[in-house]
Amino acid sequence: MTPLNDPRDQIPPGTLDMLILKTLARSGEMHGFEIANTIQLTSEDVLQVEEGSLYPALQRMLVKGWLVGEWGKTAENRRARYYRLTARGRTQLNQEIERYHRVTRAIERIVQPA
């Protein structure tokens, strides 16, 4: 459980899928822990993935066919499921990024002083 005074922000709702997809797009294959860690590190510790919620999200994307998962070995020789982006996942990522930009630009126009 995240302490209340944790300086890191929860990721905005609805963007988790995009972050996972983008992370995988950048680095090819990763297992769950690596994805969570990467999101946190890349965001320079600003964003923290709610670690448990990562897994239902991964499962959902498997169902949708955006990802495929394959079992492999970690550096420490542990069994882990490595996720990889599919072509459909890449299309989805582009759509989500586009939508994200549209939304943030709209929000910025509202909050910026006139």
Partner: protein, 894 residues
């Protein structure tokens, strides 16, 4: 959901266990890696694992969430609902059994009747591309009858449907473009001789294009060539597999000859087993052989155009429609009418799809029966809806609790509907089994005159329809109670201990359902009443001749061996003498056709007004005919043994002919003749009318000429009848024996008592009347259960009120009246709505009625009276219970 996604989900479903452990392993790894990371950054190892776990969250919940993304949600919910439904239904077995049985009854009857309708009316003929087959006939516009007044019912008729004249058929075939071909088909009966027991066989004489049109080929040999379809070349025959098996023991007989009416025919083909059962063409007799039609040249000449005598089937070319073919035939008929006004002035060719034409006579009857079972299904649904409502009282609190705990109204309705659908599904299964049994019963009971009925079976269409009907029934009887019960405010319901909170409201609903039930059952009762009265009217028709203890038989003497009228007369006179010598034979008669066994229609003219023809039936009868049949002499004399060839040609006429020809003047001594070339006949007597063609037929004008004077008339003696003191059936073998004593090659056929023939003739009417009465009884019973249920519930809910009334001094009688008044209201409202509905619907069964109008008040009043009487008797039970309420007990109960 996309297809790929569906398969991914399905794959997951199949490997559910593995997936779960995979996920578990993944999550464990995550936590361990996190713990390792934490401890490497300085957190003590013991705390690191706990911290990692905290950061990860509730693993069980996450696993569940992950699982849910994969599962088919609705499927899981459905499974839940089904389980729940099964559990609740098992907890109330009485409700379940009654509801399932009611639905099964409705579905079973529906399935059975629909199977019959499917077999008779919907199923395609078992012929390749059967949809293009048509029947062709000729419609003859009736000229106003000069002998009958305008008021005479027989003179106002629409166009008469007629068989086709072969000469016209050739034109329809050659001068149109719509048809691939038109084939003439007729029943032709022949005596099979020369190989053991002589036998009367029925065959079809067909034009050479008959088999190609039906896309049929023989199992052995070939079909007819066009050359063989001409007189002189037509001594070839195809036989059915059945005859081949029965008479030839499947021997190799191709090319051998077969004696039909003492004429040799070469067997050129054997048809495959089960070749087009002739019931498919509306032919009742079993067909054993096929011979070429080979119409004689005079029939095909322009003079022959007036002889309408063949049945025609045809096949539309691909691309031509019924409408275009009709238009073409209409133009052609008009051309023929202007070229041959004498024969074709009033003739128009008409066509219809063959299947529809074959079943045209039973169509209304089938639709009425189907509508009747439809009503039963509705009544059954209303009844189960009623039961479900009652049950909802007990479940009031349970449902309220579910809603209070956050179940959405939709979800509750879905749960309740699932329950109804489970009942419907169980009812459907039981109903299918019941239906299968009923089908067998129906086919056994059904008269043979209903075409194609023997092929009734439960096919895919019946099965699917049944399933759909059951499903809709489930929705129908489930949705109303479900909506009703979820309207309840959960707070009210939970606060109150009173289970009957919604009782009042509910009784209103139940009353409405019961009124609908009573209404629908009134419709069925009235329908059954109309048919029953028609049936009784038919049975009570006086045929005008005696039918008891008379056995009739046909002895068709072939022309090849009995060439002259004299030879035939001698045969029958000898036979009469032999039979009269038998003990128990009271009298013997012979003629060309006995009543109800066909006839010989012919045009008659009188000497005082030649060239004006009246259609009459002509019979050549033996001296004993009138006595045997109990036909009374009204004027003049009967025929005697001195009326023979060489004597004055005499005739006896019936009352109808006397009325139409001579009005009030005395016909005795007047002269009439058949057609305009035959010799004149002197009328010597007038006899009473008979209904020759059976109970529902009209009396036709009739002439009787002496059997001994047929030399000048082409009348063929064929039928014989014996009146006996005892059961006439036992003389069948005697007739056969005496015939063989005279001619061992002569078969005897169509041996039936008059009573049997009458019974066969009314069989169809009896069948439909019986079924509709049965259906009305079933619906009535269901409606009574509904009435009984509503009244019982009312009484139960008003126990306290009734107790107070009685404590205040209300008499038992007034309590009785109170309940009965409610019963009367239910019956009255139901019966009057049913009455109105029946008034509208009964028009559609007009063609099934006899002797009464669709608005026959007697049937309506009797139906409503029966309904009211039985309804009130049933209502007495809850009413009596109301009067036996003990005020003390009732008040304490409150």
């Amino acid at each position: 959901m996309q297809l790929n996604e569906f398969f991914r989900r399905l794959g997951y479903l199949l490997k559910r266990k593995n997936q779960a452990s995979d996920l578990d392993e993944e999550m464990r790894l995550h936590v361990e890696l996190r713990a390792a990371q934490l401890s490497s950054s300085g957190v003590p190892t013991t705390e690191a694992l706990d911290a990692a776990r905290r950061r990860f969250g509730n693993r069980t919940q996450i696993a569940e969430q992950s699982g849910e993304t994969w599962a088919f949600n609705w499927l899981d919910h459905l499974a839940e609902d089904l389980l729940f439904a099964a559990r609740t239904l098992r907890k109330s077995p009485a409700f379940t059994v009654v509801a399932v049985a009611t639905i099964a009854l409705g579905i079973g009857l529906n399935t059975a009747v629909f199977s019959v309708v499917n077999a008779v009316m919907l199923r395609d003929l078992p012929v390749a591309d059967a949809g293009r087959l048509v029947a062709l006939w000729e419609e003859v516009r009736q000229e106003p009858d000069v002998f009958r007044g305008k008021d005479d019912a027989a003179s106002v008729t629409g166009p008469r449907r007629s068989t086709v004249s072969p000469a016209n058929l050739v034109d329809y075939q050659n001068k149109t473009n719509s048809f691939e071909g038109l084939a003439g088909v007729d029943i032709s009966q022949s005596n099979l001789t020369g190989m053991g027991t002589p036998e009367r066989l029925s065959g079809l004489s067909v034009t050479s294009n008959f088999f190609p049109l039906l896309r049929a080929s023989p199992a052995q040999g070939r079909v007819f060539t066009a050359d063989e379809d001409h007189p002189g070349h037509d001594d070839v025959v195809l036989i059915t597999d059945e005859l081949w098996n029965r008479r030839y023991g499947r021997a190799n007989i191709l090319g051998t000859t077969m004696m039909l009416d003492a004429r040799p025919y070469r067997i050129i083909g054997i048809l495959p087993p089960g070749f087009l059962p002739t019931s498919e063409l509306g032919i009742e007799v079993r067909i054993d052989f096929y011979v070429p039609a080979a119409y004689p040249p005079d029939l095909l000449s322009d003079q022959g155009r007036g002889d309408h005598e063949v049945n025609v089937i045809g096949r539309l070319k691909p691309g031509s429609s019924l409408a275009s073919a009709r238009a073409e035939l209409k133009v052609l008929s008009q051309q023929l009418a202007s070229r041959f006004p004498v024969t074709n002035k009033n003739v128009t060719a008409a066509i219809a799809p063959l299947r529809d034409d074959v079943v045209r006579k039973v169509r209304t009857s089938m639709i009425v029966l189907l509508a009747a079972v439809g009503l039963i299904v509705l009544v059954a649904c209303l009844n189960v809806a009623n039961l479900t409502l009652v049950r909802s009282i007990a479940r009031n609190r349970e449902i309220a609790m579910r809603i209070a705990l956050g179940a959405s109204r939709g979800r509750v309705i879905r749960t309740l509907l699932t329950e109804s659908l489970v009942v419907a599904a169980l009812g459907c299964l039981t109903g299918l089994a019941l239906g299968a049994a009923l089908i067998r019963l129906l086919v056994v009971l059904a008269p043979a005159s209903i075409p194609r009925i023997e092929s009734t079976a439960m096919d895919a269409r019946v099965f699917l329809t049944t399933v759909v009907v059951a499903f809709l029934s489930g929705i129908f009887f489930g949705i109303l109670p479900a909506i009703h019960i979820t309207r309840i405010d959960p707070a009210d319901s939970l606060r109150s201990a009173d289970k009957n909170l919604s009782g009042r409201h509910q009784i209103r609903w139940r009353s409405a359902l019961t009124i609908a039930e009573v209404g629908l059952c009134t419709v069925l009762l009235i329908g059954a009443g109309l048919l029953l009265r028609s049936f009784v009217a038919v049975l009570n028709v006086d045929l005008g001749f005696q039918s008891e203890r008379i056995l009739a038989a046909s002895i068709p003497l072939p022309e090849t061996r009995y060439a002259t009228a004299d030879q035939r007369l001698r045969f029958f006179e000898q036979l009469e003498e032999r039979l009269r010598a038998q003990a128990g034979v009271l009298s013997v008669a012979f003629c060309n056709r006995m009543p109800m066994r066909g006839g010989w229609g012919t045009g008659i003219e009188k000497q005082s007004a030649v060239n004006v023809m009246l259609d009459a039936d002509a019979q050549a009868v033996s001296v004993g005919y009138f006595d045997t049949l109990g036909i009374r002499l009204l004027r003049g004399r009967l025929l005697t043994s001195t009326d023979r060839t060489g004597q004055t040609l005499v005739v006896v006429i019936n009352q109808e002919l006397a009325r139409l020809f001579y009005k009030d003047t005395d016909p005795i001594g007047q002269f009439i003749r058949r057609g305009s070339h035959a010799p004149w006949l002197e009328i010597v007597g007038v006899v009473s009318d008979i209904k020759r063609d059976g109970k529902t037929a009209k009396v036709t004008p009739q002439i009787y000429i002496p059997a001994a004077q047929t030399a000048v008339y082409p009348v063929r003696l064929a039928d014989l009848a014996v009146r006996t003191a005892l059961d006439p059936k036992q003389y069948a073998a005697e007739i056969q024996r005496q015939v063989w004593a005279l001619d061992p090659d002569q078969p005897v056929t169509n041996v039936k008592t008059f009573d049997e023939i009458i019974s066969i003739a009314v069989a169809e009417r009896r069948f439909q009347t019986m079924l509709l009465c049965l259906f009305a009884t079933v619906a009535f019973s269901l409606a009574l259960i509904g009435v009984y249920g509503v009244l019982s519930q009312t009484v139960a809910q008003r126990t306290a009120e009734l107790g107070i009334r009685m404590a205040l001094g209300a008499s038992q009688r007034s309590i009785l009246a109170l309940v009965l008044r409610q019963a009367a209201w239910l019956m009255l409202a139901g019966a009057s709505s049913g009455l109105l509905l029946a008034l509208g619907l009964s028009q559609y069964m007009k063609s099934l009625l006899f002797g009464i109008e669709p608005h026959d008040w007697g049937s309506y009043i009797v139906a409503v009276a029966v309904l009211a009487a039985v309804g009130m008797v049933v209502s007495l039970v809850p009413a009596r219970r109301a009067t036996s309420v003990d005020p003390l007990v009732a008040l304490r109960y409150e």
